[in-house]
């Protein structure tokens, strides 16, 4: 009886595919975690910035807010945002703002006030 006959082909293939799958999933998770942590060093505002699902776009938007602002106080902005966003879903807050007319313009785009402030904070935090 050869070694070859002792190892069935189908379980072997399944095992190899499983290992490969784990590697892919593991790699994806790792890459996601790396993206989430690698690019953004800790900031005093992470409790707020984690609410942004697209941090890069938010930074780009925020840079435009800062470019048009004569004065921006990140600490005061963060304090106001914490009051507004504590224990709340960002999307729900933005929806409520836009519904009630609390909108500002950025490059002429009509956006919720809180989004502009949060994105400005993201840009300031780097």
């Amino acid at each position: 009886m050869s070694l070859k006959t002792n190892i069935a082909r189908r379980p072997l293939l399944a095992s190899l595919l499983g290992v490969a799958g784990l590697a892919v999933v593991g790699g994806g998770v790792y890459e996601g975690l790396r993206n989430a942590t690698r690019r953004y060093p800790p900031t005093p505002y992470d409790d707020l910035l984690y609410k942004l699902s697209d941090r890069e776009s938010a930074k780009a938007l925020g840079a435009q807010v800062l470019a048009g602002a004569t004065h921006f106080d990140p600490k005061a902005t963060a304090k106001a945002l914490r009051l507004k966003l504590r224990h709340k879903n960002l999307a729900r807050v933005l929806e409520a703002e836009i519904t009630h007319g609390d909108a500002v313009e950025l490059r002429g785009w009509v956006i919720p006030q809180t989004l502009a402030s949060l994105c400005a904070l993201a840009a300031k935090a780097g």
């Binding site: 697209d54 780009a60 938007l61 435009q64 007319g101 919720p112 989004l115």
Partner: protein
């Protein structure tokens, strides 16, 4: 020979009269004289068909464009905000400016007739309900199909495509309908379309190449005695009429009254210095905004005219009357134009906003926006007589054009509200492109909608004509056309001025028991 056969029809037609064949020095008479063969004049002539009165309609041009006749429109000077050349923004032959109009139609809104505290000089002496009985006939004359307009369910069912869902607020989707000559893509050119109809009217004569150079009052200025007529071939004659209706357009109506200053030295109807003032047009600044539709799904009738229900229609965004009242706003009509691409900065704004709201933008489409705006009446936006004269000896006109920063600001506020509503419903986002006056003016075009120069008011001190379009103090002189509009809405004027002319026709009929 059957009724309606070509030979029978030819026999029924009365040829147009050529004023160049009338003897100089002749004194003609008629019961009712219509000066001008454009949309208003032709509509009035047809409305008075078969009345037991003799009607004569004069047209300066022939049945086709002629450069020498058109040159009578040249301005003396134009100052202020850059505006269209007065010679080019209208046409001087049978059918008038319908020979080059775009065919856009939309009825005036109720609020357009009301006095509005935030709009100086606003308020018509009639309400929309006074015009409504005439809308169907006006709509038929411009051949815009059934009078449907703001019935979104009908359009969306016919096209199987719903209007954009806007969040609750002050802007909604409204609808234009288009004039469209049967079996043609062109809007109705009144001269071509109704030329034969005019020839069939038994009590009507149409005289071409006949230019009225003066309205001559009785010595006591109590009524019109006659009008002076001239041709470019040098003929001069007079026409006396029991009633005279001046319908030569929003600019020429004022010019003719101002130039007829032999008895009333400031011009007919101008005792209170109103004739020629309050000139208006609809500003059409370009690329006023950018519309991003997140899922890319926008009904085609926002982008181009579509045919349905026997009509051709297109959508636009407009503020509700309630919003105008609440925000001291003005009317406007915002249209969706061509598809464009966003640059990197704009993409970042849209991506960050959409992702924060949990919106997928993978199918997004982006469009530029256009508009037509209402402006506030301004007495300094004005036509006056210049020292220059045209080939017939008529004074040419000077125009001073204005537009206020507040007019732009009010429209801007409407765009902001539309942007808010789009985002509230998670349908899309809007970017307002212009902020400064220079930005607004950099893309400015105008509607060629000349209005306001012989404004309507029940108070002779505040208006040139009364609610029936009769010139105050001169019982046999009337003005037809959008020059009588005291305020201007954002709706295109042609269908509305025709409705107002048809109302005038009923009033005139009552003068001939």
């Amino acid at each position: 020979m059957g009724r309606g056969s070509p030979v029978r029809e030819r026999l029924q037609l009365r040829a147009f009269i050529d004023a160049r064949t009338v003897a100089s020095g002749a004194n003609l008479q008629t019961d009712l004289l219509i000066v001008g063969g454009g949309a208003a004049g032709i509509s009035l002539a047809l409305a008075l068909a078969n009345m037991p009165i003799k009607v004569l309609m004069l047209e300066s041009g022939g049945t086709d464009f002629n450069a020498r006749t058109q040159a009578l429109y040249k301005a003396g000077s134009e100052t202020g905000v850059p505006y269209l050349h007065l010679e080019g923004s209208r046409l001087r032959y049978l059918g008038g400016s319908t020979n080059h109009w775009g065919g856009w139609c939309r009825p005036l809104d109720e609020i357009d007739f009301e006095p509005r505290s935030w709009v100086p000089h606003s308020g018509w002496p009639i309400a929309r309900k006074d015009l409504e009985p005439y809308f169907d006939r006006a709509q038929a004359l411009v051949e815009a199909g059934p009078f449907i307009y703001d019935q979104p369910k009908k359009w969306s069912q016919a096209q199987n495509a719903n209007p954009l869902a806007l969040g609750k607020g002050g802007v909604f989707t409204t609808y234009f309908q288009y004039s469209k000559t049967r079996d043609s893509d062109l809007p109705t050119h009144f001269g071509d379309r109704y030329g034969d109809d005019l020839k069939r009217v038994r009590n009507l004569n149409v005289m071409l190449h006949a230019n009225v150079t003066g309205i001559r009052l009785s010595h006591d200025a109590g009524h019109v005695d006659h009008v002076d007529v001239a041709t470019l071939t040098g003929k001069h004659f007079k026409i006396a009429a029991k009633y005279v209706v001046v319908a030569v357009g929003g600019i020429e109506n004022a010019r003719l009254l101002l130039a007829s200053n032999d008895v009333m030295k400031t011009g007919i109807g101008n005792a209170n210095d109103l004739v020629g003032r309050f000139f208006a047009d609809h500003p059409i600044p370009g690329e006023v905004g950018t519309l991003a539709v997140f899922n890319g799904d926008i009904a085609p009738y926002y982008l181009v005219p579509r045919s349905a229900l026997g009509a051709t229609f297109r959508s636009a965004f407009t503020p509700t009357d309630a919003r105008k009242r609440a925000t001291q706003g003005l009317s406007s009509l915002t249209t969706v134009e061509g598809e464009i691409q966003l640059d990197g900065q704009d993409q970042a704004v849209v991506a960050a906003t959409a992702s924060s709201l949990g919106i997928d933008t993978s199918g997004m489409k982006v469009f530029t926006l256009g508009c037509g705006m209402e402006i506030v009446p301004d007495p300094d936006r004005r036509l006056t007589l210049s020292g220059e004269r045209d080939a017939l000896g008529m004074p040419r006109l000077n125009l001073n054009m204005t537009i206020s920063d507040q007019d732009f600001a009010r429209y801007r506020a409407t765009l902001h509200e539309l942007g808010r509503q789009l985002l509230a419903s998670k349908v899309g986002m809007l970017r307002i492109r212009h902020t400064t006056r220079a930005e607004w003016l950099s893309t400015m075009d105008w509607g060629n909608h000349h209005m306001g120069t012989t404004r309507m008011s029940s108070d002779p001190k505040l208006g040139v004509v009364d609610a029936n379009c009769q010139v105050h103090g001169i019982p046999n002189l009337y003005i037809a056309g959008s020059s009588v509009f005291p305020t201007y809405s954002a709706s295109n004027p042609t269908m509305n001025l025709i409705a107002l002319t048809l109302r005038m026709a009923d009033h005139l009929k009552a003068q001939f028991p």
